[in-house]
């Protein structure tokens, strides 16, 4: 557009005539297109840079190679990560983009991943940048989010996956295993958790010392942005804070909600949930944990508008203390995930400390309280170096915990973490190892390597608001021409699983495994396109 406007300014009459002539030719060609066939617009495939993530970078080339074979004109555009995110979500300015969703524990509930295909999330900045719009899907989405009966809800979630799969607005490329390792001569007893690896909230509670040292040492290349429960916006902040802040409910390794600080969770009516607390719980400073604290915390979170938790709390109207140990949660509308997910994510804060803090997000790190009621007590955090917590002896779960505490060593990169593991400086890796380190670790006698399947996924999203991806047949054909088997075998060295649905196979209860998978098949892709009225010109380019 800019070009034209510039050309027009100050042009001589003859140039104007030329423009007119060109415009007429353009019009004529449009008129002709009813009979003549036109090549499809070229496709820009956006992916990460090689240095950010070599796997997604290479995956784009595997895709492009086959799509070209199908007669499409494809450009691969490796893009700096934040810029790619901005164009994808905020501007929705893309043809096809390869990005990913991480597997956070709370996303094991289907709510979040399903919402990424809801047409009401298709606004700029929303979670459905591809713009998939299917009113049946949206209706089912509402139905499942209000369905309390697990089996009923499972049926609806399955139906939704069937709908999405045949329309295929988003291709789930693969789920990458998280490969982590621990020193079995120092510690054992771990139960790896999907999407979390060994550094899960259960890891430190389950670890059993095999050697002399009873302090578990974890090493990772990432650290919390800050430890303010009303301002941290990173997974790494919460992975640490959840060890010293307790929750009403904790999700088991199989994502079953277990009453934790809650003795019981009951439904009073459609929009009221009653929680009874355990007796005798105290905060780390000795004050009792009461229903007042719990109600205060939830209302405080609503009040302080903490974005990171807003999806958990959007359905909550208010929390009300009924007696010493009972809290009622009043919801704006029925919600299936509130009792399982929301209650398992919000930490319990001591009212006597936080009630005096007006704007919690403005607290500086040195003023941020660290008193919780969790199984561990906060000890210290030296940015870039080290964090520590120690066992809280008065916790109701304390007898089940073998270790004295956890020390987290912060390294600059995975190279440092691996060296630490190899030399016995740390016992567990907090983050996935690099491919080269896996085989090295397998050769070390004191190390056990663990493959943990992930339910987060790498996806390739079509912009369904743009040609030619507005045509379902094109999306289907392009998906059939995407060799995901090869990505898993070559790029992941077999450590992962080909994607088939936005709900991962490892999430067995919610995953729909019987519908079509779009196996790699170039013939089928061509047939799909032909059937939809596409053909190929003499140069092999696809035309319509």
């Amino acid at each position: 557009m800019i070009y034209r406007r510039k050309n027009r300014i100050g042009k001589s009459p003859s140039a104007k005539k030329l423009w007119f002539a060109m415009a007429s030719v353009g019009l004529a060609s449009i008129a002709l297109s009813a009979t003549a066939q036109e090549p499809l617009p070229s496709i820009t495939l956006t992916t990460t840079t090689e240095s950010y993530d070599p796997i997604r970078y290479e995956a784009a080339f595997i895709v492009a190679e086959r799509w070209r074979e199908l007669g499409f004109d494809v450009n691969v555009a490796p893009t700096e990560f934040s810029t790619a995110l901005e164009r994808f979500y905020d501007q929705q300015d893309f043809d096809v983009t390869i990005l990913g969703w991480s597997g956070r524990t709370d996303r094991l509930d289907p709510q979040f991943f399903l919402s990424t295909l809801d047409s009401r999330e298709a606004y700029l900045g929303g979670n459905n940048p591809g713009g998939y719009a299917n009113s049946d899907f949206d209706e089912l989405f509402d139905a499942q989010s209000q369905e309390f009966d697990l089996d009923e809800r499972q049926q609806i979630v399955m139906q939704m996956q069937e709908l999405y799969k045949s329309d295929i607005p988003v291709v789930v490329l693969f789920h990458r295993d998280e490969v982590v390792a621990f020193n079995h001569e120092a510690f054992g007893g771990f139960n790896p958790m999907a999407g979390e690896g060994l550094y899960s909230e259960w890891g430190p509670m389950e670890a059993v010392a095999e050697g002399e040292r009873k302090t578990l040492r974890i090493g990772g290349p990432q650290e919390p942005d800050n430890l303010n429960p009303l301002s941290s916006t990173s997974v790494w902040g919460w992975k640490w804070m959840r060890l010293y802040y307790d929750r009403l409910v904790r999700l088991s390794a199989d994502v079953e909600p277990l009453p934790w600080a809650a003795e019981s969770v009951d439904q009073v009516d459609d929009t009221t949930i009653a929680v009874t607390l355990r007796e005798g719980m105290t905060f780390h400073d000795g004050e009792a944990v009461t229903a007042e604290d719990v109600a205060f915390t939830y209302n405080y979170y609503l009040d302080q508008q903490y974005g990171y938790f807003s999806s958990y709390l959007s359905v909550l109207d208010n929390a009300e203390p009924i007696d010493e140990l009972t809290v009622h949660f009043h919801l704006k509308e029925p919600s299936a995930s509130f009792a399982s997910i929301s209650l398992s994510q919000i930490p319990i804060l001591p009212e006597h400390i936080w009630s005096e803090i007006e704007d919690a997000s403005a607290l500086s790190p040195s003023d941020t309280p660290t008193i919780g009621s969790g199984p561990f007590k906060y000890e210290r955090f030296d940015r870039g170096e080290f964090m520590a917590i120690s066992k809280f002896e008065d916790h109701f779960h304390a007898d089940e915990i073998d270790i004295d505490g956890v020390e987290f060593i912060i390294y600059a990169d995975m190279e440092g973490v691996y060296t630490g593991l190899q030399t016995g400086q740390i016992d567990v890796t907090a983050w996935r190892m690099e491919p080269g380190q896996i085989s090295l670790a397998e050769g070390e006698e004191h190390l056990t390597v663990v493959n943990v399947p992930d339910f987060g996924y790498f996806h390739m999203t079509y912009n369904t608001q743009r040609e030619p991806f507005d045509d379902r047949a094109v999306r289907r054909a392009l998906t059939m021409a995407t060799d995901r088997e090869r990505m898993v075998n070559v790029l992941l060295d077999g450590r992962g699983e080909v994607g088939s649905s936005i709900i991962a196979p490892v999430n067995t209860f919610w995953h729909e495994s019987f519908v079509e998978r779009f196996d790699f098949d170039m013939e089928a892709a061509r047939a799909e396109l032909e059937e939809a009225g596409y053909s190929w010109d003499s140069d092999g380019r696809i035309v319509r």
């Binding site: 974005g307 170096e385 020390e407 060593i409």
Partner: protein
């Protein structure tokens, strides 16, 4: 004396102007070049209104010119603002990290120059000999070998293989020290310092060595050396007392620039040895679009370079009376 004062005042004014221009460039460079600092929050599931609220809390909802003048006003008062990522005062973060970086870089650079300059002088005296050739070779080799490589080899040999030195970090865990000086005045800290400092020193060794050697060769042709020889002074005295003093100027300049740039740390060494220095922090701040932290880090670096350059020019007059203020 008055010429000296007016010279100094002029230089200080130039320095401040340079800093002002750098601050302005940094401000616009980061804002125009880096993505929105809240872009990465999308993958955490934050919706646009929540991100807008966070942007507003960072002051990013105001027009860029307003932001610019607020920023300038704050910097003039020595206030670098709050880090977007850490939600902590930028100054606290930078001073701590700068301390960690300097405690590694200064000993390393001093070592490199204390060894490199005399060694270069000695090599020039033995020019053409086998010692000269191999000295130049070693100096150049460490200067051109990437530090992540020399660092990794050193870790492999001395830490993993021989087990003499720690592989990473500044101290052994668990520790109790919290103040900066508690942290560095320990044997344990020295133990951690040896390997990274040695790697940095070896890298820097080449500069003073070669500059000294080559300047010395030039000085040898001067009349006063001839004169000293004619007086029958011992060769060693001619070398160190007469020639070396005159050849020192370019080395001092180089030293100042090196120390100035060292404020930014050696990112590679800091990563290989997991040293919590400013270099890693700068890299992170750019990665997370943490404008206040990135701006302040680069500004501190620039201030270092400018100040040290000024200092060297003053030092020149002491080292060499031929240089005067004009």
């Amino acid at each position: 004396m008055s010429s000296r004062r007016s010279y100094l005042i002029r230089r200080v004014i130039h320095g401040v102007m340079a800093l002002f221009i750098i601050a302005t460039l940094l401000f616009f460079l980061f804002r125009l070049g880096l993505p929105d600092p809240t872009a990465a929050l999308i993958t955490e599931g934050l919706n646009p209104e929540e991100r807008e609220r966070i942007r507003a809390s960072f002051g990013l909802d105001r027009p860029i010119w307003v932001q610019y003048f607020i920023y300038l006003g704050n910097v003039l008062q020595g206030d670098f603002g709050y880090s977007f990522h850490y939600r902590a005062p930028v100054a606290d973060i930078i001073w701590e990290r700068l301390g960690n970086t300097m405690i590694l870089m200064l000993p390393a650079i001093v070592l490199a120059y204390a060894v490199g300059a005399p060694l270069g002088a000695w090599l020039s005296w033995r020019r053409g000999s086998r010692a000269d050739t191999s000295g130049i070779f070693v100096g150049l080799m460490f200067r051109s070998a990437p530090m992540f490589w020399t660092g990794m080899i050193a870790i492999l040999v001395f830490s993993i293989g021989l087990g003499w030195l720690p592989t990473s970090g500044m101290r052994t865990l668990p520790y109790n020290a919290s103040g900066f000086f508690d942290k560095i005045f320990t044997l344990d800290f020295l133990h951690h310092l040896i390997l990274p400092a040695l790697i940095v020193a070896l890298y820097y060794l080449g500069s003073p060595l070669l500059i000294m050697r080559n300047t010395m060769l030039e000085v040898y042709g001067e009349d006063f050396i001839e004169m000293a020889r004619a007086k029958g002074l011992p060769e060693r005295r001619i070398l160190y007392a007469h020639a070396a003093r005159n050849a020192l100027l370019p080395v001092v300049t180089q030293l100042a620039v090196t120390i100035g740039l060292a404020a930014g740390g050696q990112v590679v060494v800091e990563v290989v040895f997991s040293w919590p220095g400013l270099g890693r922090e700068i890299l992170n701040s750019v990665r997370t679009s943490d404008f206040p932290l990135a701006q302040a880090s680069f500004l501190v670096m620039a201030a270092f370079v400018i100040t040290l350059n000024l200092l060297v020019d003053v030092l020149y007059t002491l080292l060499d009376p031929r240089v005067s203020f004009k």
